[in-house]
Amino acid sequence: MVAKIQPVVRSLYRNAGDFARRYAPLLILTSLVLLFTFISPNFMTVKNLTLMLRQVSFATISAVGIMFVMISGAIDLSIGSQIVFTNIVMAILMARYHVNPVLAILFCLFMGTFLGTVNGVLSVKLQIHPLIITLGTGTIYKGLGYIVANGKNIIGLPESFKVLGQGYIGPVPIPVLIMAVVALIGNFVLTRTYFGRYVFAMGGNPEAARLAGVDINRMRIITFAICGFASAITSVLLLSRVFSGQVFTGQGIEFDCLTAALLGGVSFIGGEGTIFGLITGVLIIGVLNNAMQLAGLPDFYQNVVKGTVLLVAVGFDMYQKRRRAKETIARVSTHG
């Protein structure tokens, strides 16, 4: 019996580093939850947790989109601005032109996909790093949003539109349900389909992917389009939640998405990432936000804490990777 267990234990020990790396986000999340449960009696209640989930659901949907872009080895800084633009346009369609909400939503989804596609096409055609491209297009999209809004808040949305952002199915808020669906689909596409494999391949080694027959340019455009589509879903839900068209809706959401993705182990240089990790990252941010609100800390303090957590988590990840690389070099050089 002991003889059987021994190798298992040994391999467990050997893989402890891997294990820590893989589950570090989960460990951080668990400890935060335990900590706040002890500190604040209002934290571990169904009502509070439901609200917390709804709060993170909006950014999570965009984050699933940005994850496709990140794994493929690019970055999209424009999603907040895309949301600003689509949000205002959708609000105007419904409030001023009395467009049927369903049509307005479809238009918003189409428009978001289009804005994402523009990002993709520009990065392919101009051959400039997507960081710069999306910095530029983001500024443009935001500017266009402001122009269309013309300095006004757009009110007078149809009551029926409220349900998406504010409604519940049973005890579950609708945005949370939609987040779950988006995450499941994202996970499925990334892990089970041809397309998902291509995303990982091009993020890991673009030249090798090209030689293996992956159409890098087409993939780049599609991943940006997916990101735009996901952000458009966020835009719809945010408009329904805020229930008036405001140019501040969605601004800066890309930084929450990026933070969550990086916390959850999505690689900034591409090729790595899981939906599970992403959700963990999102929840870490959500729990921190929530607990600090419960504790009555002002926003500024929350930013300091979030930034610190990000640096610690990513720093730990890099430390682990570097150590592993060293081990590999040592092993290979003794090998032959």
């Binding site: 389909t193 494999r197 391949a201 890991g204 992917a209 027959g213 092993r331 090998h335 032959g336």
Partner: protein, 262 residues
Amino acid sequence: MSADYVVEMKGICKRFGGIEALRNVDLELRRGEIMGIVGDNGAGKSTLMKILSGAYLADAGEIFIDGQKVHIRGPLDARRLGISMIYQDLALFNNLDVAQNIFAGRELVRDRFGVFIDKKRMYNRAAELIRDLRVDIKSPKMSVARMSGGQRQMVACARAIAFQCKVLIMDEPTAALGVTEANKLLGLIRNLKDMGLSILLITQRIPDVLAIADRVFVLKGGQRQDVMEVSKVTLDDVVTMIVKGKGGNGTAAPEVQYKSFG
């Protein structure tokens, strides 16, 4: 065109800007042989092979596979014709495991529309390939990032031959390997030949070529110099041809120290 040759390249020319990388090069590869492609740095070895593998397009020239004229416009065309190339920088994906590497870009699918990948079949097939090649990789689930240079070459080999492949091009496979690993790899190349593959082996290590190749093809300054039967030449003959070319009148080779491969 003779069907004795599995590959025939005729009058291949390639320029990169002002540099003439290949000038009117002909190459014939017999079925089931190992042909060494040798030449100094910049002689055009890799360029010629990359044209065959579809990574580059030739400016002029024709290619025949099994006597049939073909047009190779990209890596996919070459692969469809049964030509695989293992690139010097290996073209492996460090973020993927062995099986994912082998099937990258042509994942096995389980539905008619080719959307959903068949993981189980891919891992089984990868394990089979590793076994057939008799290489020391423990599991198709191992991450490539942690492997030694030799193991990585083996994965690249498995990747190259995983699908219908009759011509395998290897670009300096032993360059970064230690003596033991290089020898193992040469053994593997022989196995591949026994499995019926025709192999083009680019290398700087002439002793490797003399050890396992049937013929050796010499390039210099983008031009074909000679093709020699390995059984009839010495190391010096090959080196002389590389350094002096066709017009060298058989002068003795310069004093060059070659690392023997063990």
